[in-house]
Protein backbone atom coordinates (compact mmCIF):
# COMPACT_ATOMS: atom_id res chain seq x y z
CA UNK A 1 0.00 0.00 0.00
CA UNK A 2 2.77 2.40 0.90
CA UNK A 3 4.37 1.94 -2.52
CA UNK A 4 1.15 2.96 -4.15
CA UNK A 5 0.83 6.05 -1.99
CA UNK A 6 4.39 7.06 -2.76
CA UNK A 7 3.85 6.50 -6.45
CA UNK A 8 0.72 8.55 -6.32
CA UNK A 9 2.55 11.37 -4.58
CA UNK A 10 5.35 11.19 -7.11
CA UNK A 11 2.91 11.41 -9.93
CA UNK A 12 1.34 14.44 -8.34
CA UNK A 13 4.76 16.04 -7.96
CA UNK A 14 5.64 15.26 -11.59
CA UNK A 15 2.43 16.87 -12.62
CA UNK A 16 3.36 19.97 -10.70
CA UNK A 17 6.73 20.04 -12.43
CA UNK A 18 5.15 19.69 -15.77
CA UNK A 19 2.57 22.34 -15.11
CA UNK A 20 5.16 24.56 -13.46
CA UNK A 21 2.57 25.45 -10.92
CA UNK A 22 3.35 24.76 -7.31
CA UNK A 23 -0.03 25.38 -5.77
CA UNK A 24 -2.35 23.15 -3.82
CA UNK A 25 -4.84 22.93 -6.68
CA UNK A 26 -2.20 21.76 -9.15
CA UNK A 27 -1.18 19.16 -6.62
CA UNK A 28 -4.73 17.95 -6.18
CA UNK A 29 -5.24 17.68 -9.91
CA UNK A 30 -1.97 15.74 -10.21
CA UNK A 31 -3.05 13.51 -7.37
CA UNK A 32 -6.34 12.72 -9.04
CA UNK A 33 -4.55 11.96 -12.30
CA UNK A 34 -2.26 9.71 -10.29
CA UNK A 35 -5.20 7.83 -8.86
CA UNK A 36 -6.51 7.32 -12.35
CA UNK A 37 -3.14 6.05 -13.59
CA UNK A 38 -2.75 3.70 -10.67
CA UNK A 39 -6.26 2.39 -11.25
CA UNK A 40 -5.45 1.65 -14.85
CA UNK A 41 -2.17 -0.01 -13.96
CA UNK A 42 -3.56 -1.87 -10.95
CA UNK A 43 -2.86 -5.24 -12.42
CA UNK A 44 0.88 -4.63 -12.51
CA UNK A 45 1.02 -3.59 -8.90
CA UNK A 46 1.76 -6.10 -6.12
CA UNK A 47 -1.08 -5.19 -3.82
CA UNK A 48 -4.79 -4.51 -4.23
CA UNK A 49 -5.62 -1.00 -5.33
CA UNK A 50 -5.05 1.18 -2.35
CA UNK A 51 -8.17 3.28 -2.78
CA UNK A 52 -10.13 0.13 -2.20
CA UNK A 53 -8.20 -0.51 0.91
CA UNK A 54 -8.76 3.04 2.05
CA UNK A 55 -12.45 2.52 1.54
CA UNK A 56 -12.35 -0.59 3.69
CA UNK A 57 -10.48 1.21 6.38
CA UNK A 58 -13.05 3.95 6.26
CA UNK A 59 -15.77 1.38 6.59
CA UNK A 60 -14.02 -0.26 9.49
CA UNK A 61 -13.64 3.07 11.11
CA UNK A 62 -17.04 4.52 10.59
CA UNK A 63 -19.21 1.55 11.03
CA UNK A 64 -17.49 -0.50 13.60
CA UNK A 65 -15.34 1.92 15.38
CA UNK A 66 -17.89 4.68 15.89
CA UNK A 67 -20.66 2.31 16.65
CA UNK A 68 -18.62 0.45 19.21
CA UNK A 69 -17.38 3.66 20.68
CA UNK A 70 -20.86 5.01 21.23
CA UNK A 71 -22.06 1.79 22.70
CA UNK A 72 -19.18 1.36 25.04
CA UNK A 73 -19.44 4.96 26.12
CA UNK A 74 -23.04 4.51 27.02
CA UNK A 75 -22.04 1.49 29.02
CA UNK A 76 -19.40 3.34 30.88
CA UNK A 77 -21.65 6.27 31.55
CA UNK A 78 -24.23 3.95 32.96
CA UNK A 79 -21.61 2.48 35.23
CA UNK A 80 -20.34 5.86 36.23
CA UNK A 81 -23.70 6.88 37.61
CA UNK A 82 -24.44 3.56 39.22
CA UNK A 83 -24.64 4.16 42.96
CA UNK A 84 -22.83 0.96 43.76
CA UNK A 85 -20.37 -0.64 41.41
CA UNK A 86 -20.76 -4.37 41.45
CA UNK A 87 -18.51 -5.39 38.61
CA UNK A 88 -16.01 -8.19 38.36
CA UNK A 89 -13.00 -6.82 36.50
CA UNK A 90 -10.20 -9.04 35.29
CA UNK A 91 -7.48 -9.62 32.72
CA UNK A 92 -7.75 -12.37 30.15
CA UNK A 93 -5.57 -13.63 27.36
CA UNK A 94 -6.81 -13.21 23.82
CA UNK A 95 -5.11 -15.42 21.22
CA UNK A 96 -4.77 -13.61 17.90
CA UNK A 97 -4.16 -14.77 14.36
CA UNK A 98 -2.96 -11.42 13.14
CA UNK A 99 0.72 -11.24 12.36
CA UNK A 100 2.04 -7.78 11.61
CA UNK A 101 2.56 -5.44 14.48
CA UNK A 102 0.44 -2.70 13.06
CA UNK A 103 -2.43 -5.04 12.73
CA UNK A 104 -2.07 -5.97 16.34
CA UNK A 105 -1.86 -2.34 17.33
CA UNK A 106 -5.03 -1.67 15.45
CA UNK A 107 -6.73 -4.56 17.10
CA UNK A 108 -5.62 -3.60 20.55
CA UNK A 109 -6.85 -0.09 19.91
CA UNK A 110 -10.19 -1.38 18.82
CA UNK A 111 -10.34 -3.60 21.83
CA UNK A 112 -9.74 -0.60 23.98
CA UNK A 113 -12.67 1.13 22.38
CA UNK A 114 -15.10 -1.71 22.74
CA UNK A 115 -17.44 -1.90 25.65
CA UNK A 116 -15.87 -3.15 28.79
CA UNK A 117 -12.47 -4.13 27.37
CA UNK A 118 -9.07 -2.54 27.34
CA UNK A 119 -5.87 -4.04 26.02
CA UNK A 120 -3.16 -4.14 28.64
CA UNK A 121 -0.25 -5.83 26.98
CA UNK A 122 0.85 -7.79 23.97
CA UNK A 123 2.60 -11.08 24.50
CA UNK A 124 6.21 -11.12 23.48
CA UNK A 125 5.69 -13.56 20.64
CA UNK A 126 2.73 -11.47 19.46
CA UNK A 127 0.50 -14.48 19.67
CA UNK A 128 -1.91 -12.98 22.10
CA UNK A 129 -3.15 -9.77 23.62
CA UNK A 130 -3.88 -9.42 27.29
CA UNK A 131 -7.16 -7.65 27.75
CA UNK A 132 -8.61 -6.00 30.81
CA UNK A 133 -12.34 -6.22 31.10
CA UNK A 134 -14.45 -4.16 33.37
CA UNK A 135 -16.90 -6.90 33.89
CA UNK A 136 -15.68 -10.38 33.19
CA UNK A 137 -18.19 -13.06 34.07
CA UNK A 138 -17.11 -15.40 31.25
CA UNK A 139 -13.74 -15.25 29.54
CA UNK A 140 -14.59 -17.39 26.53
CA UNK A 141 -17.55 -15.29 25.55
CA UNK A 142 -15.50 -12.15 25.62
CA UNK A 143 -12.82 -13.74 23.46
CA UNK A 144 -15.38 -14.78 20.92
CA UNK A 145 -16.96 -11.35 20.80
CA UNK A 146 -13.71 -9.74 19.83
CA UNK A 147 -12.73 -12.41 17.37
CA UNK A 148 -16.00 -12.11 15.53
CA UNK A 149 -16.23 -8.36 15.31
CA UNK A 150 -12.78 -6.95 15.04
CA UNK A 151 -10.32 -9.51 13.94
CA UNK A 152 -12.40 -10.30 10.91
CA UNK A 153 -12.79 -6.67 9.99
CA UNK A 154 -9.11 -6.03 10.28
CA UNK A 155 -8.22 -9.02 8.21
CA UNK A 156 -10.54 -7.76 5.59
CA UNK A 157 -8.64 -4.57 5.43
CA UNK A 158 -5.13 -5.90 5.57
CA UNK A 159 -5.25 -9.11 3.63
Amino acid sequence: MSIQIILNLLIALMWMFLREGYTASTFIVGFIIGIGLLFLLRRFLPDIFYIVRLYRIFKLFVFIFIKELIMSSVNIVALAYKPKLNVEPGIFKLPVELKSSWEITLLSSLISLTPGTLSVAVAEDQSSIYVHAMDLPDIEESINDIKVTFEKAIMEVTR
Partner: protein, 111 residues
Protein backbone atom coordinates in the same frame (compact mmCIF):
# COMPACT_ATOMS: atom_id res chain seq x y z
CA UNK B 1 -32.00 25.44 13.66
CA UNK B 2 -28.31 24.91 13.31
CA UNK B 3 -27.86 26.50 16.70
CA UNK B 4 -30.09 23.88 18.21
CA UNK B 5 -28.21 21.03 16.59
CA UNK B 6 -24.97 22.53 17.74
CA UNK B 7 -26.44 22.98 21.19
CA UNK B 8 -27.54 19.40 21.38
CA UNK B 9 -24.20 18.18 20.16
CA UNK B 10 -22.27 20.11 22.71
CA UNK B 11 -24.66 19.21 25.47
CA UNK B 12 -24.39 15.54 24.71
CA UNK B 13 -20.65 15.88 24.35
CA UNK B 14 -20.42 17.62 27.66
CA UNK B 15 -22.54 14.98 29.26
CA UNK B 16 -20.25 12.22 28.03
CA UNK B 17 -17.16 14.12 28.98
CA UNK B 18 -18.47 14.78 32.44
CA UNK B 19 -19.60 11.23 32.89
CA UNK B 20 -16.18 9.99 31.80
CA UNK B 21 -14.54 12.16 34.41
CA UNK B 22 -16.98 10.94 36.99
CA UNK B 23 -15.99 7.43 36.06
CA UNK B 24 -12.34 8.29 36.38
CA UNK B 25 -13.02 9.52 39.86
CA UNK B 26 -15.30 6.72 40.92
CA UNK B 27 -13.86 3.56 39.40
CA UNK B 28 -11.70 1.46 41.68
CA UNK B 29 -8.39 1.04 39.86
CA UNK B 30 -6.41 2.51 37.06
CA UNK B 31 -7.57 -0.01 34.49
CA UNK B 32 -11.18 0.64 35.18
CA UNK B 33 -10.54 4.35 35.07
CA UNK B 34 -8.92 3.95 31.72
CA UNK B 35 -12.14 2.48 30.44
CA UNK B 36 -13.88 5.69 31.36
CA UNK B 37 -11.19 7.92 29.93
CA UNK B 38 -10.85 6.09 26.67
CA UNK B 39 -14.48 5.79 25.89
CA UNK B 40 -16.73 8.39 27.39
CA UNK B 41 -14.33 11.28 27.48
CA UNK B 42 -13.15 10.72 23.93
CA UNK B 43 -16.64 10.48 22.60
CA UNK B 44 -17.62 13.57 24.55
CA UNK B 45 -14.88 15.72 23.14
CA UNK B 46 -15.62 14.45 19.66
CA UNK B 47 -19.20 15.54 20.12
CA UNK B 48 -18.31 19.01 21.26
CA UNK B 49 -15.78 19.48 18.51
CA UNK B 50 -18.23 18.29 15.95
CA UNK B 51 -20.64 20.87 17.31
CA UNK B 52 -17.98 23.51 16.94
CA UNK B 53 -17.24 22.34 13.42
CA UNK B 54 -20.85 22.57 12.39
CA UNK B 55 -21.21 25.93 14.05
CA UNK B 56 -18.23 27.31 12.22
CA UNK B 57 -19.46 25.96 8.94
CA UNK B 58 -22.84 27.56 9.25
CA UNK B 59 -22.11 30.62 11.31
CA UNK B 60 -19.01 32.03 9.73
CA UNK B 61 -18.83 29.77 6.76
CA UNK B 62 -15.52 28.14 7.39
CA UNK B 63 -14.99 24.46 6.79
CA UNK B 64 -12.24 23.80 9.22
CA UNK B 65 -10.04 20.92 8.18
CA UNK B 66 -7.99 21.36 11.30
CA UNK B 67 -10.99 20.74 13.47
CA UNK B 68 -11.91 17.58 11.61
CA UNK B 69 -8.34 16.46 11.81
CA UNK B 70 -8.41 17.21 15.50
CA UNK B 71 -11.48 15.07 16.02
CA UNK B 72 -9.96 12.18 14.11
CA UNK B 73 -6.76 12.54 15.96
CA UNK B 74 -8.42 12.27 19.32
CA UNK B 75 -10.42 9.28 18.24
CA UNK B 76 -7.41 7.48 16.83
CA UNK B 77 -5.02 8.26 19.62
CA UNK B 78 -7.33 7.63 22.54
CA UNK B 79 -7.05 3.83 22.48
CA UNK B 80 -3.32 3.96 21.81
CA UNK B 81 -2.77 6.21 24.76
CA UNK B 82 -4.94 4.00 26.88
CA UNK B 83 -3.02 0.95 25.83
CA UNK B 84 0.29 2.59 26.61
CA UNK B 85 -0.82 3.70 30.02
CA UNK B 86 -2.37 0.42 30.96
CA UNK B 87 0.72 -1.44 29.90
CA UNK B 88 2.85 0.96 31.87
CA UNK B 89 0.58 0.61 34.84
CA UNK B 90 0.69 -3.11 34.74
CA UNK B 91 4.41 -3.37 34.17
CA UNK B 92 5.22 -0.90 36.88
CA UNK B 93 3.34 -3.10 39.28
CA UNK B 94 0.18 -1.20 39.91
CA UNK B 95 -2.12 -3.52 41.82
CA UNK B 96 -5.49 -4.45 40.48
CA UNK B 97 -8.47 -3.69 42.59
CA UNK B 98 -9.52 -6.30 45.12
CA UNK B 99 -12.65 -7.18 43.13
CA UNK B 100 -10.52 -8.40 40.22
CA UNK B 101 -11.32 -11.99 39.56
CA UNK B 102 -8.87 -13.21 36.97
CA UNK B 103 -5.36 -12.20 36.08
CA UNK B 104 -4.09 -14.34 33.26
CA UNK B 105 -1.24 -12.00 32.55
CA UNK B 106 0.24 -12.50 35.97
CA UNK B 107 -0.16 -16.23 35.64
CA UNK B 108 1.71 -16.23 32.34
CA UNK B 109 4.49 -14.04 33.62
CA UNK B 110 5.05 -16.02 36.76
CA UNK B 111 5.20 -19.33 34.93
Amino acid sequence: MIEIIVSLLILIGTFFTFSGSLGIVRFPDVFNRLHAATKAATLGVAGVLLGAFIFLVFDIGIISGKLILGIFFVLITAPISAHMISRAAYNSGVELTEETRHDQLEKDQSS
